[in-house]
């Protein structure tokens, strides 16, 4: 099982600079480091579904960002997701840290050295095709989503 963190930028992990990674991928809207990291507990076969539901349901930028598997033996707290899709609502977890130092150590020791192997990339075109296929197949969640957001993934 993965602890999948949906990415925000393609270039974040090109440098392996811990400060840049934290400020870009683990930063909250309040201008502070996010110590409750939102992840999805999913199988590798569900990565496309997870990322598509995350981007569509939360109205975030839908791009082919690298998504990282943060599974490293830490406890994951069950917290409901906010995507509106039942699968990702149920699969949502929080990966909690006591301090920025603890997060920094976790990323430096467990994640960054294996970043390439932990990356699960999903292209925007794959997400769009998946969503349209689900709607065409009569999936009620996606049918409802497109009724409310006919222009998706365009804002």
């Amino acid at each position: 099982m993965l602890a999948l963190r949906v990415g925000r930028r393609r270039t974040t992990w090109e440098s392996n600079e811990i400060d840049k990674i934290i400020r870009t991928e683990f930063w909250g809207d309040n201008g502070e480091v996010d110590l409750e990291i939102s992840v999805y507990r999913v199988e590798q076969t569900d990565v496309l579904r997870t990322v598509a539901e995350h981007c569509a349901g939360l109205g975030v930028t839908t791009r082919g960002f690298p998504n990282l598997n943060l599974e490293a033996g830490r406890l994951l707290d069950e917290t409901p997701g906010e995507t509106g899709f039942s699968f990702t609502v149920a699969a949502h977890r929080d990966l909690r840290f006591a301090s920025e130092g603890e997060l920094r150590e976790f990323l430096s020791k467990a994640i960054i050295p294996e970043a390439t192997q932990r990356t699960h990339k999903v292209e925007r075109s794959q997400m769009v095709a998946y969503a349209r296929d689900r709607a065409a197949a009569g999936d009620p969640e996606w049918v409802s989503f497109f009724e409310r957001n006919p222009r998706w993934p365009k804002e």
Binding site: R9, R10, T11, E14, T24, D29, G31, E123, R124
Partner: protein
């Protein structure tokens, strides 16, 4: 020695932290990386890093809708850290004054940080129907040194292929 010029730091940025050995006569208020500042360093000091603190103001998306001139100003001043500038550039694509937005964004395609160049592509993605924007993105897609930036440009161009183009 050239004296540092007066600089007004945006209120949303509390202070500027510096690392490295600098002339103590320079205060936080003047500690912005520019030629005057570097001229005040001792001869033995050749490296100064200015670390801009995180943006504490309203979300950039909100600024794009409610105070676009402020967002455009921020894009050009150099006061935003690259980790903020990437999201500010993306948000600037929402500004209703398209001419002003594109004018502010295009220079950022040459920013030294790939993170900023990537965010700029997302900001420009709403305006790919403009020939000049499309041409610039086509150049970036082929020539940017960052694989992530090239991919972002290619994705944006492919996504927009079905749109009607405008001058």
């Amino acid at each position: 020695m050239t004296r540092p010029r007066s600089i007004t730091i945006p209120p949303e940025i509390a202070s500027t932290r510096t690392s490295g050995s600098i002339d103590p006569r320079f205060t936080d208020d003047t500690a912005i990386l520019n030629s005057s500042y570097l001229g005040g360093l001792r001869d033995s000091v050749r490296f100064v890093e200015v670390v801009l603190p995180p943006w504490k103001g309203p979300p950039f998306k909100d600024l794009a809708d409610t105070n676009p001139s402020r967002l455009l100003e921020l894009l050009g001043t150099g006061f935003l850290a690259v980790e903020d500038l990437t999201f500010a550039a993306e948000a600037a694509g929402r500004i209703s004054d398209v001419e002003a937005a594109v004018k502010a964004l295009l220079p950022l395609l040459e920013h030294q940080s790939p993170l900023v160049r990537e965010g700029t592509i997302y900001g420009l993605s709403r305006h790919v129907g403009r020939d000049w924007v499309r041409m610039r993105l086509e150049f970036v897609a082929k020539n940017d040194p960052s694989p992530g930036v090239r991919e972002a440009a290619k994705e944006t161009l492919e996504d927009d292929d079905s749109r009607e183009r405008v001058q």
